[in-house]
Each structure stands twice: as C-alpha cells, then as structure tokens.
Amino acid sequence: MSKAEALLRVENLNIAILENKQLQPVVRGISFDLHTGETLGIVGESGSGKSLTALAIMGLLTGTPIRITGGHIWFKGEDLLQQSKAQRRALMGNAMAMIFQEPMTSLNPVYRIGDQIIETIKQHQNINANGARKRALELLDMVKIPDATHRIDHYPHQLSGGQRQRVMIAMALACDPDLLIADEPTTALDVTVQKEILELMAELQRTTGTAIILISHDLGVITQTCDSVAVMYCGKIVESSSTKNLFDRLGHPYTRGLINSIPPLDNDIEWLNAIPGQVPALNALPTGCPFQPRCYHAQDQCNQAPPLTLIDDEHKVRCHFAVQLQSSDS
C-alpha cells in the first residue's frame, strides 16, 4: 500500500528522554502504517515505549523532558513533525483524539460532563451553545449513557468508572476524528465493563470508520479488537502482523514468552513458562537484540542487531532465528 493511502504513517520514529543533560533513547526507530477503518494494537510492558509513541503522534510531548529525535509522522499526507504548534492544536481533539487509561483523572471533577463535551465541540466547530448541547446529547446517546438528558448535567463523581470512560469516548468522538488513540482504555475497569467498552468502540468504529490505535499490556484485549498487532520491547517493534497470523505463526521469542506468561483459562498447567529476568534499564540496554539476555534461543550473533525478517505476508519479526523458530514449531 502506498504512502498516500495510509491515514497515518510512522516512519523511523525516535524518541529520547533528557536526563542529566543526556538524551536517553526510549523509542528507537519504529515504523508502521494505519489505514482508515483499521485497528492497530500496540502491546508491550511498562517502559516499552508504547505510550510515548501515542503521545508523540498526538503532539502531547511538548513541555516535557521528552524529545522526538528523529523520523516522520505522516498524517493525511502531512508530516506532523514539521507543523507549527497552532497547526497541531487544531488537529488535537478534532482530526485525532485520545482516550486515556484513568477516566477519573482525565475528566475535570469540577465541571459537568456535558460542559466538558461542549467545550471540545466549540473549540473546533463554529456552532452556537444550543447546537453544541444538542450535539453533546447525541454523543452521550451514541456511547449509550442511559438517560442522557439528565446525565448531561452530572459531575464526573456521580458516574461509575465505565460511564466516565463512555464520556471520554463521547468527547473523543465529538468532532468525528479520523484517528482515535486509546491508551489502555479499559485497564482500570472491571472485566464485565471492559467487555462493554470494547464492544462499544468496535461498534462506533463500524459506523464512523475511524482508525484506532489501541495500546494495551493485555494481549487478550488486543486479540479481540485489533486487525493488526505491533509488539514493542525496549523501544522497538519486535514483531508486527495481522492479529490472526500472529497467533498462527508466532515469530519473536518475546511474543512467545508473553503469551506463555498468561495463565490459560481453558487448561491446567503446573508452572508458567515465564520469561526469566527483567526488562533492562534504558541506560543499560544490551547491544544487538534487546531481548537476548532473557531469550532461550540467544546465540553469539544476537549481539548484532537482528534484521527485520518477513515470515509471511505482512508478518515481520525482528529476530535472527525467526525462520528457524517457525520450522521447529511445525
């Protein structure tokens, strides 16, 4: 697919944190494409760089010690990293919107939820107060807040966690965004509520055609909602694939380890095949493959950075042994 077609193209993105006047790389050359109507899942553990990638796309890293040190973020054909602050602000909450993990802290506790949605609408659209309120009501209906005409004047504390997340979604969809980034949108919610919210997001995507980036540590959530998956480890995408192919033909030893770390629901196993060791500190990354100190398959050549290996259509793995691992499975 060509560059013109992709709604979002992230190209060799590098992000670093300024620490003691030194730049510590945290996202190290990641690239991916996202098309209209698609859902991409980014999965990884804390510190893998998945949230920073999202914040970089949204343009929310200004004013932090975090710097984008290289690469491009093409959105509808424009390189966002070349745009002015004003241009980025005009996109935020408009053509691209974001939902965060904690619905309590991302809503302002002293404003009514309706007013918070209306504020977003008025920021980007030339619309009068009545029109904006009507639109806010529509949105609350759309995210299935019961009794919206009454609820619109409630404060965040009067809503449950799941309802607050629905309000966040309503706000994110207020201006019909082309791209919606959801960073752990259900992590703080109970599993039955999580199911409702994920179903809502999928349903809204079908009707609006919004492209979604879903960031999660939970492979189960990613599997059930995403068309394709990127697995991040130590600031790199180590495996990317369509969701179906990822599980059919597991590529990277880290992805395998991640799956083996989750206790199965349908089977009794005595011990989990946990990944040994821990994620290396940013300032002590090993040379070559970042996963090699914890990898069962590591050999001398893992000291060299592994190439991106294609194991089938659009299934890429960053491992020297990607192909051998495939044949040892079958």
Binding site: E45, T223, I259, N260, I262, P263, L265, E270, A274, Q278
Partner: protein, 281 residues
C-alpha cells in the same frame, strides 16, 4: 487438602457508614459484605474473586484486623478473632500474614531490606541476634530469587517484581500458617507476574501454608487455586473446586464473568519446559 478447616468464617456481615454526599448529617450505609461463610483448610489455596466493590478485600482486611468492623464469626484456632482485642490478636499476627498489591507502597522506603525483613523476626522472637537474623534473611532472599547482597539495599533500588519478592520474603520469614494475598500480582507486568506467580505457588507447595488469594483476575486465580469463591455485591454467589467453576459455572454471574474475559486463540507451549521455579531469576 486435609479435612480440618482451620479458619472458619461464619455469617460475616460488614456495613460501612459513610457521610452522604447529599447532606452533612445524612449517613449512607454500604453493606460491603453480606452473610459470607467459608472455610479455609490446611494447605489449600482458596481464592476470593470478583470485581471492584464486591467485598473481597474487606474480608481479607477484617481477618487480619486491619479493619475493625463486622458481625458474625471468624474462628481461628478455636477462637473468634473477629471480636478479639488487638492485644490478644497480636500473637496471631505471626500466623496470619498479608501480602499487599502495591510493591511500591508496602515497603518502608527508609529501611534497608535487612531492616524490613528482620523486624518481624525480632518482634516474634524468632532470632537471638543480628548475625542470626542475617543468616536467616540471606537464606530467605535466596528462596525468593534474590541475592543475599540485596539485604543492604533500599526498596527504591529494586524493580516492582523484585519488591514484591521482598514482600513475599517478609511474609515467609515468620513461617505463617495462613497467607492472605490481596491482588498480590496485579500491579506487575505480564512477564514479571508469571515469575512471581510461579514463586508464590512454589513456596505455598513447599511450606504447606494455606492461602486466601484475593484477585479480580480469573486466569491468575485458575492457575493458583484449589477452590474459588466468586463474589458479587458483597455475597459469595458460588464456591466450588477450581475446575468446576471454570468448566461448569452454575451461577449466572460466574458465567457472565467468564464470558467477559478476552482470550487468546491458540497457545502452544513452545519454549523449553522449566524447572519448578519456572524462569525465576
């Protein structure tokens, strides 16, 4: 699992009175735990599973006297610990230990690991002097997968998973008979969670300690429990052997809970099989 229950909870009710949001003088009643009864048998792992607000944590806190509330009975070693004074409960603290969720908040940042781990040893008079304590601590750190040198370091020098290992070491130091683990692995990353889960299971097996495992995560609960009590709005709606709960859930809520979990399609155990301490560092 032997046949003697050594902790029996009978008809436990806990009501919290909170100030109402609607008026200063109105009180709201929150019936957090309703008519809950269960027993924990020697050497078994019983899990309390449910969503936020179902009362699972309250039960753990009432048993460990961290919460003074409730009516009914909690019988341990022939005594009702629910009505017991803190002074009389204190000697039992050695036997009933708790592992908390947040490994960042549950260790005193100003104490070295040695200090944290030796405190219970001295309080319960399990060692005579410091060198005795250090020997014991070194052995215990080794058992939870840490180096003996960890003793002289402070909590901030450790990762979340390592801190949780320290928390587990602190509990195991005093050779408890019952461990109450409240969301003990929930704050950890997936790969670290698997390591700590293996560790907990291994220590539980080797010491024979009984465990009340409180969690919202059904996959984790299935992996570690002998029996499971499913809680909903303060009540136990279903209590059964682990396999029964998963294969033949009876209560409508259990069924709903199970069907809500996003599952991963195929899983192959591809990696080499590990020793019983599965991938511990």
């Amino acid at each position: 699992m032997s046949a003697n229950p050594f902790l029996e909870v009978n008809n436990l009710n806990v009501v919290f009175h909170t100030k109402s949001a609607s008026g200063m003088f109105n009180k709201e009643h929150n019936h957090a735990v309703k008519n809950v009864s269960f027993s924990v048998y020697e050497g078994e792992v019983l899990s309390l599973v449910g969503e936020s607000g179902c009362g699972k944590t309250t039960i753990g806190r009432v048993i460990t006297h961290l919460e003074h509330a409730g009516t009914g009975e909690i019988i341990y070693a022939g005594q009702n610990i629910l009505t017991m004074s803190d002074t009389r409960f204190r000697p039992l603290r050695k036997q009933i230990q708790m592992i908390f969720q947040d490994p960042y908040a549950s260790l005193n940042p100003r104490l070295t690991v040695e200090k944290t781990l030796s405190e219970p040893l001295f309080i319960h008079k399990l060692v005579k002097n410091r060198s005795d304590a250090r020997t014991k601590i070194a052995a215990m750190l080794n058992e939870v997968g840490l180096n003996a040198e960890a003793m002289d370091r402070y909590p901030h020098e450790f990762s979340g998973g390592q801190r949780q290992r320290i928390g587990i070491a602190r509990v195991m130091m005093v050779q408890p008979r019952l461990i109450i683990a409240d969301e003990a692995v929930s704050a950890l990353d997936v790969s670290i969670q698997a390591q700590v889960l293996n560790l907990l299971k291994q220590l539980q097996r080797s010491s024979g300690v009984a465990m009340l495992f409180i969690s919202h995560d059904l996959a984790v609960v299935r992996h570690i429990s002998d029996r499971i009590a499913v809680m909903y709005q303060g009540e136990i709606v279903e209590l059964n052997e682990t396999r029964q709960i998963f294969e033949q859930p009876q209560h409508e809520y259990t069924q709903r809970l199970l069907s809500s979990i996003p599952v991963i399609p195929s899983r192959k155990n591809i990696e080499p099989t590990l020793s019983s301490n599965g991938g511990m560092l």
